[in-house]
């Protein structure tokens, strides 16, 4: 028995500092010229995507005390480039990742509200926390916040921003505000009237228990790493299940995993392409570096085409600075060893297989079916697509997959309203 599929949401991510952009491909364009951002944004808008998404980088990564040079680096400041993109787009949402640790509520709320006005209601804010002293060396505040404080500061930061966004009268007059909390004691008048969306859309990307609680209480969209069906369903059920406790409907929060798509004329061609991309993403040098990040030791003498090291990882090491770590190094190393042994893989081959996060590989029909199924199975409300080529990496998806999603009734055929909230099906918040 068929039923009308749930309509999904789609977003386009122009990756920040990353090791998935295949910059060696001649089709890979500038990572900093405004024309690259215009291209990807306009492609996304042509595909009727909900929004365009930028990450944040506050300190160049270092490895072994030296600046890390294998990854794409060099980024525009997000809110500034989004303001410019507001001029070359019409409906596309514009989302910036901005840290609550190295900003102050008054100033950031002002910048976000300004973007919402300048884009006629398309601004969004991905709330992240950064707690390390390494990044803090670029800022007055340093990196003094301990981990527990990260989230309490972030929660109070978002609450304060909302108070500021609501502070003008409905007639458009400034009204004094005062906020006294654990992290912020501020007062005065906000300089911006309530913007077209009421509040910019709030996105959150944490995966920890505190992150999920924060998302359930305060966010409109969750950006997750869970891009497999099983992991997606578990995360979806968990986070959606928390909403009622905050008096929120299940539809009030959209869950969107970051995913990659590799297309081919056939499934087989797509798989071949995907394998080639993995090899381009993991150079021999990159493979050794990935290994060093797990092992915490200098492994530069090892051959990337040779076997994994016999020696054990040093779990206390901090070889890599500025990188978010996932999981316990000893456990990861054990898993990689098992994989290598099972399939007879070299260092490079192991890293290719173990760290690959390619989500949807196949012909346009296969990919459209898989995306639709993911949403139908309650593993996501939509997807944030991360192309491996910028700026042209979503051209094919928009040309070939979006029409199929539309045919199935799984995606919009037009923008129904002017704001990002209308694309996401979110009501404007009450004052």
């Amino acid at each position: 028995m068929s039923r009308t599929p749930r309509r999904m949401h789609l977003a386009a991510h122009f990756p920040g500092v990353n090791n998935t952009t295949v910059w060696s491909d001649p089709r890979s364009g500038s990572q900093i010229d405004f024309s690259s951002f215009t291209h990807l944004a306009r492609t996304a808008e042509r595909g009727l995507f909900d929004f365009f998404f930028l990450a944040e980088g506050l300190r160049l990564r270092e490895h072994n005390g030296r600046i890390h040079d294998l990854d794409v680096v060099g980024r525009p400041e997000s809110l500034t480039v989004l303001a410019a993109l507001a001029a070359v787009t019409d409906r596309l949402g514009l989302a910036a990742t901005v840290s609550t640790t190295f900003n102050e509520p008054f100033e950031l709320a002002r910048r976000l509200a300004t973007l919402d006005h300048l884009s006629a209601g398309r601004a969004a804010w991905n709330v992240v926390t950064s707690s390390d002293a390494f990044t803090g060396e670029n800022f007055r505040r340093g990196g003094y916040l301990d981990r527990a404080d990260r989230y309490t500061r972030a929660a109070e930061f978002v609450a304060t921003a909302r108070e500021l966004w609501d502070s003008w009268t409905p007639d458009g007059e400034p009204r004094p505000f005062a906020h006294r909390g654990r992290h912020f004691g501020i007062e005065g008048e906000f300089t911006v009237p309530r913007s077209p969306q009421g509040h910019p859309v709030v996105i959150q990307a944490g995966d920890s228990p505190e992150g999920r609680a924060f998302a359930a209480s305060a966010a409109d969209v969750v950006f997750t790493r869970h891009s497999t069906l099983a992991a997606g369903r578990a995360f979806y059920a968990d986070v959606k299940g928390r909403l009622a406790a905050y008096g929120r409907e299940p539809d009030a929060l959209k869950i969107m995993p970051g995913v990659t798509v590799v297309l081919g004329d056939s499934d087989a061609e797509a798989r071949e392409r995907a394998a080639g991309i993995r090899l381009q993403q993991v150079s021999p040098q990159g493979a050794l570096l990935a290994l060093e990040q797990v092992w915490g030791r200098d492994l530069s003498s090892y051959d990337p085409d040779g076997p994994l090291p016999d020696i054990d990882p040093d779990p206390g090491a901090t070889l890599a600075r500025g990188r978010v770590t996932h999981g316990d190094p000893l456990e990861t190393a054990a898993r990689w060893r098992a994989l290598s042994k099972e399939k007879g893989l070299s260092i490079r081959q192991t890293v290719v297989e173990a760290t690959g996060r390619q989500s949807f590989i196949g012909s346009p029909e296969t990919v459209a079916a898989a995306l639709t199924e993911f949403v139908a199975e309650d593993a996501a409300d939509g997807f944030i697509l991360v192309p491996h080529l910028t700026p042209g990496g979503l051209d094919d998806f928009v040309d070939r997959v979006v029409p199929l999603l539309q045919e199935r009734g799984a995606f919009r055929t037009e923008y129904a309203g002017p704001t990002l909230r209308s694309h996401l099906g979110l009501a404007a918040p009450d004052r």
């Binding site: 410019a84 300004t114 670029n138």
Partner: protein, 356 residues
């Protein structure tokens, strides 16, 4: 006084009573661009209603082609690293037309917006502003122009020897670096300071490319200009790399009509009486007289009523100057530095490394 045929530079403020719709600012910037002005400024303050000026001019950038875009960014309650990144990004999205009007937040009310102690005295605020300009320049240099190498053989996207920690340790903050934004198209976006008097003048002499001075007479403007150039030289700078513009508030309306309501929430009237009220033709004559006498390298005009007065400036004042061959009729160059006749600065780290 000496007669000069040095190029004339013109700029205009496009702020006024608070507006939040981008079309308003885009229209004014395009108008100024039709007049071939060097740049527009947009004031910004936490102390009164108004949008974030840098964001507004970033929104304006793709809709304009040549004109320089100079927002005010205050330094007292901001992170220097963020200021540097945002201004660099404005330079990228405008393809080399960005500037930054450095200003400070002097009031206790502004400090309370950030939960901070009462405002520091002016000289401390301006020393801090100077440090922000200083570290920004270092951050803009922290990426050499050719740091991005995309070397497939070694898998390196960047050459780490062309990325530099700035290791800035100042009186008010420290910043390690490098920047996260590659070196801007102009090398350094243009730094503008109102350096008429006091501690701001020190900061201007040390760090500014363009200094605005308020003066009621050409002799006073000439004296301020000479003094700034002397001070700049004392700081080891070539005084010919400074552009001193006389800042005038202009009211080109009829004497009978009052300025637009809500003016107290717009940019403050320039102090010291450098306020011109009259017709656009007489304004052109004033500009010619002062410029020919060597009083200034140009003028920065703040219209009392932005829409009306800017139109009269462009269609009448500038048209007259152009007709007399005293002002450009189009922008031959693409960057703000080119309009101002300022060289693109060499990268200090590349110089140190013998590579510039």
């Amino acid at each position: 006084m000496s007669v000069t045929t040095a190029p004339l530079h013109l700029a205009a403020e496009i702020g006024g009573p608070p507006r939040y719709d981008p079309g308003h600012y885009t229209g004014l910037a395009r108008l100024a661009e039709r007049g071939a002005l060097d740049f527009v400024t947009l004031g910004d303050s936490f102390a009164r209603p108004g949008p974030d000026a840098l964001a507004v001019l970033s929104r304006v950038a793709p809709a304009t082609d040549r004109i320089g875009l100079v927002p005010t960014v205050t330094t007292t309650h901001t992170e220097p690293f963020h200021v540097s990144s945002a201004v660099a990004t404005l330079d990228w999205v405008s393809r080399g037309r960005a500037g930054w009007l450095v200003d400070v937040s002097t009031t206790g009310a502004e400090a309370r917006l950030f939960g901070r102690r009462p405002a520091a005295p002016a000289d401390a605020l301006w020393r801090e502003a100077g440090e922000t300009a200083d570290v920004s320049a270092r951050l803009w240099d922290s990426w050499e122009d050719d740091a991005e190498i995309r070397d497939v053989a070694t898998g390196r996207f960047v050459d780490r020897d062309r990325l530099h920690h700035v290791d800035f340790e100042g009186e008010f903050f420290s910043v390690r670096g490098p920047a996260i934004v590659p070196r801007p198209p102009q090398g350094h976006p243009v730094v503008v300071v109102d350096g008429t008097a006091g501690p701001a003048a020190h900061t201007a002499a040390r760090h500014a490319d363009v200094v605005l001075v308020r003066a009621t007479a050409p002799e006073r403007a000439a004296a301020l200009r000479a003094d700034l150039r002397r001070r700049a030289e004392a700081y080891g700078r070539d005084p010919r790399t400074l552009r001193v513009l006389v800042a005038l508030t202009v009211d080109l309306g009829d004497a009978e009509t009052a300025p637009e309501p809500g003016l107290d929430s717009g940019p403050p009237l320039a102090a010291g009486g450098s306020y011109y009220r009259g017709g656009p033709v007489d304004l052109a004559e004033l500009i010619i007289r002062w410029h020919r006498g060597g009083a200034a390298d140009g003028f920065h005009l703040t219209p009392i009523t932005p829409g009306r007065d800017l139109e009269r400036i462009v269609n009448c004042t500038v048209a007259l100057l152009q007709h007399r061959g005293l002002f450009r009729t189009f922008h031959p160059g693409g960057t703000l530095r080119e309009h101002l006749g300022l060289a693109r600065p060499a990268n200090r780290y590349a110089l140190e490394g013998g590579r510039a």
